[in-house]
């Protein structure tokens, strides 16, 4: 009993009274106005589908992984999406190790509802063979530090991780043509998930029996708030989910006001996530360009074909642009997404050629072609020295 008291966080009467009295004058203890969000930082790991989100002092890591499983009987042509939360006692001494607490379950379900019920992730594109094998996408959310407003932070972490996740490409092959072949990411570029829109959770806290309302409550504000409401909206202003579990009652006008505010914040947060994801994709493409460059550079003697630094940057942007297009358009089985038809190496019609010639192809990213858009004559000449491209034409 005493040990538990020593390990929990305590709030003084002084703090409680001060926060309440300051809020009645529209002052928050961290200097924000009641409708301000804290600073949002989104970072990504080196692996696809890992994100790290910081909102003020709150810190959450999101990890997405995929597995091929048998689909549920009632939905034979849909993949699955599951959210798992991990509340470590390191984040907050109030979190107990082992069994997930009430709040951990609520958080997981709330994010799950926002993503699933609004059909944000396209489930049918996760199907490989109807009734036999589909992708099961798993989102793990690790809470590293609890500075308040875990719901919004975890939701952003889940979105950012889903947007950067790439599942390996699968085709049917084998002797009977029914076996699922998972292609090595080195050979075939993994595909991003299809995300139709981004449901962003915005949390409000109510104080003094609904008199005062703040957005994005801190840890201290959460400790003394009377009630909480989370609205999940996308940037178009569509309400995907609203959660108001117990606590102080609030009037309808306050709720509509909150929803209007939340719509504004959702637009803001969506653009922040998009920017972060775009810059991640640029950096990712840049990594690829460098690797390819190192592979072919020693063979090149024609000065025209040596890429300058800014050209590499443009290529990377171009590549990133392609990824964006990929994520918005649906998957076309005839062509490998993102590769112009005339330069497709791994087109289905050419598949025999690939099998035969795969030894001579030394592993570089297959669908990377810098000269596909507009090819200047000098480049055409120089392209003949690329052994891979030359043999394919």
């Amino acid at each position: 009993m005493e040990q538990r008291l020593a390990n929990t966080w305590h709030m003084t009467i002084n703090e409680k009274k001060f926060i309440e009295s300051a809020l009645s004058k529209n002052i928050r203890v961290d200097g924000r106005s009641p409708v301000d969000y804290r600073q949002l930082t989104i970072k990504f790991g080196r692996e696809d589908g890992s994100s790290e989100v910081q909102l003020g002092e709150t810190h959450v890591i999101g990890l997405v992984s995929g597995q091929i499983v048998q689909p549920y009987r009632d939905r034979p042509n849909e993949g699955t999406l599951a959210i798992f939360t991990e509340f470590s006692p390191m984040a907050d001494p109030a979190f107990e190790p082992g069994r997930p607490g009430e709040f951990a379950i609520e958080l997981g379900r709330l994010i799950d509802r926002g993503l699933r019920e609004s059909r944000a992730v396209d489930m049918e594109s996760l199907c490989i063979v109807a009734g036999k094998s589909v992708w099961a996408i798993r989102v793990d959310l690790h809470i590293l530090d609890n500075g308040g407003n875990l719901i919004d932070t975890a939701n952003i972490a889940a979105l950012a991780a889903l947007l950067t996740y790439r599942k390996p490409e699968c085709t049917l092959g084998g002797e009977n043509g029914q076996d699922v072949v998972v292609h090595d990411p080195e050979v075939r570029e993994p595909l991003p998930l299809i995300i139709h829109h981004m449901p962003v959770a915005v949390t409000f806290a109510f104080f003094n029996e609904g008199d005062a309302m703040v957005i994005d409550p801190t840890h201290k504000e959460e400790a003394i708030m009377g009630g909480r409401m989370t609205a999940t909206l996308n940037s178009n202003g569509d309400v995907c989910a609203v959660q108001k579990a117990g606590g102080d009652g609030v009037s309808l006008s306050v709720i509509t006001h909150c929803l209007r505010l939340a719509a504004l914040k959702a637009v803001d947060i969506t653009s922040k996530i998009k920017n972060a994801v775009d810059s991640y994709n640029t950096a990712r493409a840049l990594r690829k360009v460098k690797r390819h460059n190192a592979l072919v550079a020693p063979d090149i003697t024609v000065p025209d074909s040596v890429m300058k630094g800014n050209q590499i940057g443009q290529l990377a942007e171009h590549q990133a642009q392609k990824f964006k297009e990929e994520s918005t358009k649906t998957f076309d089985t005839e062509t490998v997404v993102g590769i112009p038809k005339e330069t497709v190496l791994f087109n289905k019609k050419n598949i025999n050629f690939i099998r035969k010639d795969s030894d001579s192809f030394i592993g570089g990213p297959s669908n990377w072609d810098p000269y596909s858009q507009s090819i200047p004559p000098t480049f055409v000449r120089s392209s003949q020295i690329f052994p891979g491209l030359h043999s394919s034409s």
Binding site: N14, E15, F18, I27, V29
Partner: protein, 245 residues
Amino acid sequence: MDGQLSAPTQATSLFDQTVIPGDIIVDLPSVANLRVGSGLRQDCFELLAMKVGTLRYKKPNKYWLESSHKRYDPSVEDTILGIVVGRNSENFLVDIKSSSLALLPVVAFEGGTKKNIPKLEIGSLLYVRVVKANHGTNPELSCTDASGKAAQFGPLKEGYMFDSSTGLARMLLSTPTCPVLQAFDLQRFKIVIGLNGRIWVNASTPSMVVLISNAIMASEFLSASQQANMVKELTDQLQTRCSVR
């Protein structure tokens, strides 16, 4: 105790330097008597650092480590801020950010007797002094100074309390006055700093309290001039906001 004792040669280079666990501070046979503070440990004939921190030395023979943590390691005669979390017949149980709860005897107040026990609610904030800090037992606190006078100790009313690292608290308490405090008009607010990394602030208006507390929290890793600039900027911001309203 040798008053003229000069520091041993291999340690002089380490004074006011950062040391890491396992660093040998002093070879003991070279020194007669030592007074060892927190963060140091004797291992046979060596004095070793037990954590990362800055080594401090005070003439004639005092050695200790200063470090910045979120947790507080109690040591005797520190003045700290504690939160009452419970009580039994003998003691108030006080949270002081250390690994175990501290005990504040109900008679450890000025003129305190068994029949005259102050009423302290759970959640009250107290300015207290550490009396005993031994390993394996709960630290003991007192609300009086060594001579039994109240001397500013006791419950703090109103105001706002926030947490900081122990390093920031020590920085604020050091002399000359820390630039961030100097930048404010010291007459216009009250501040109590506990060495355990808790700071209590009170001023005439809530906005002033918020301003001071945020300036202090932001000042931990800033230089003197940066601190002054930051305070000036924050004050300007506050004024423009007030004038807009």
